[in-house]
Amino acid sequence: MTKDQGLMSWKELAPGMYILEPGNSAKFKTGDWRSHRPVLDKEKCIKCGQCYLLCPEPAYEPNEEGYYICNLYYCKGCGICAAICPKGAITMVLEEA
């Protein structure tokens, strides 16, 4: 599947619904059923990278300044990052409908 949300004709599917492109799951928005999202307080962050290491997705990526930023395109809102953060710099905030 190549299109963002898998909306495609049955005629375009590979036989057996095989995925012919390795790693294509990165193209899919898998963070669309989250109820809470992590919000980072840069004042408290010490850039230790625990959130980056422990995110099961992995949705965190380091930015140019060295902070680890959560990509909400993939984040499921599990809250592991908030729970593991040694400085309490990540807060889970309810997603508004």
Binding site: M1, Q5, G6, L7, M8, S9, W10, K11, L13, A14, P15, G16, M17, Y18, I19, L20, P22
Partner: protein
């Protein structure tokens, strides 16, 4: 023409599988399939067949191993019966959805309980909706020929094929059988080449999640693929005729030209039923027989064409679909007729369960009761025939 040699059908079927140069055999023994897989084990053990024989711990594992091997591009074989097929159930739909050309011989046996090792079609009939191509043999020669055909079709269509033969009645009988010469088998079955397979050098994913946005499309694609196998099935029989001289078609008919009443049947019972047809014909009764050799994809047009001018059909099922509108074949036949302008009366009997004999005289009785149904509509939608009251 090859040489006709007396062989137990199971042994001949196993030899045919060997001739098809399978790469992987994965099976768990269950009566009445045992002689097939035992003989294949012998062939591998004796070095006569260069294949991987996986003696798995269950039928679930047997089909799973075939799925894995086929996904990696191997020519695979398995065989089972009754509860073994039911134990395989979960993996059967995956084999077809993954478009894997697995060939399985089902030595048809009734399902438990009560436990029975004898023959009917109650095992395979539970699997008719999975997208497997399903063929049914009447005798040993046909069973062997359907094995060659199964690989040809499976690999052209990239779908699994189940070849059905009646447990004991066909599997354990010694018949004169003409095996295809190896050279012809090789010509008929070029080495398997799969466009997509599991290969670390060119990774693909099989078995990804089908979210609601794509599941329906995946099923539509499979459905079209299974429907499209019909032409390949027929073509493969035409090609088989060229090399063997033996002619097969999706629906077999016997003395149907001017038949008023026709029996619709599958498997080996058809031979006995043909004797009943002959006896009634000798008395001037216009009877005939229609036999499904191909069951999936359902050969709709062949079936409707075979009807000619029949006034009533006597559908003999060998499986019960409890508290439904008929046996599996009866239901299918009625449904097929609903889409056509032909509306013969359909009388549906369930007979021959668990190896219960259905004799020529039984068939004559079924024909006579169907004649009665032409003028008087039966009060039942199906009847289990021959029950001791």
């Amino acid at each position: 023409m090859g040489k006709r040699v007396a062989k137990e059908v199971s042994i001949a079927v196993a030899d045919a599988v060997g001739q098809c140069r399978v790469d992987v055999i994965s099976a768990y023994p269950i009566t009445p399939q045992t002689h097939i897989v035992e003989h294949l084990a012998e062939l591998v053990n004796n070095g006569e067949l260069d294949a991987e024989y996986i003696p798995v711990e269950s039928e679930h594992a047997a089909m799973s191993a075939c799925i894995g091997a086929a996904a990696a591009g191997a020519r695979t074989f398995t065989s089972t019966s009754a509860q073994g097929l039911l134990f395989m159930y979960e993996t059967l739909s995956i084999a077809s959805a993954f478009r894997l050309p697995i060939v399985m011989v089902i030595a048809n046996r009734s399902i438990s309980a009560p436990i029975s090792i004898w023959n009917d079609l109650s095992d395979v009939m539970t699997t008719r909706d999975f997208g497997w191509i399903q063929t049914f043999a009447e005798n040993g020669q046909e069973a062997v020929d359907l094995v060659y055909h199964a690989y040809r079709v499976a690999e052209k269509c990239l779908l699994p094929v189940a070849v059905n033969l009646d447990g004991f009645i066909v599997t354990h009988v010694v018949e004169p059988i003409e095996m295809l010469e190896q050279e012809l088998v090789d010509k008929y079955l070029p080495p398997l080449k799969m466009k997509y397979k599991l290969d670390p050098k060119k990774p693909i994913t099989m078995g990804a999640i089908g979210v609601p946005e794509v599941y329906t499309e995946a099923k539509k694609a499979l459905d079209e693929a299974v429907k499209a196998t019909y032409k390949v099935v027929v073509q493969a029989w035409k090609e088989f005729e060229k090399i063997s001289g033996r002619r097969y078609q999706p629906v077999e008919t016997y003395r149907m030209d001017d038949a008023e009443v026709a029996m619709v049947i599958m498997g080996s019972l058809a031979e006995t039923a043909c004797n009943a047809v002959d006896e009634l014909r000798a008395k001037g009764k216009k009877v005939g027989l229609i036999r499904f050799r191909l069951w999936r994809p359902f050969p709709m047009q062949d079936f409707l064409k075979a009807l000619r001018k029949v006034k009533a059909l006597c559908v003999v099922d060998r499986a019960v679909s409890h508290a439904s509108t008929g046996g599996p074949v009866g239901i299918e036949v009625r449904s097929a007729l609903y889409q056509s302008n032909k509306r013969p009366r359909v009388v549906n009997f369930i007979a021959g369960l668990a190896g219960r004999d259905v004799t020529k005289d039984d068939f004559i009785e079924l024909f006579e009761r169907t004649f009665e149904a032409i003028s008087k509509k039966p009060k039942f939608s199906y009847e289990i025939y021959g029950v001791k009251e």
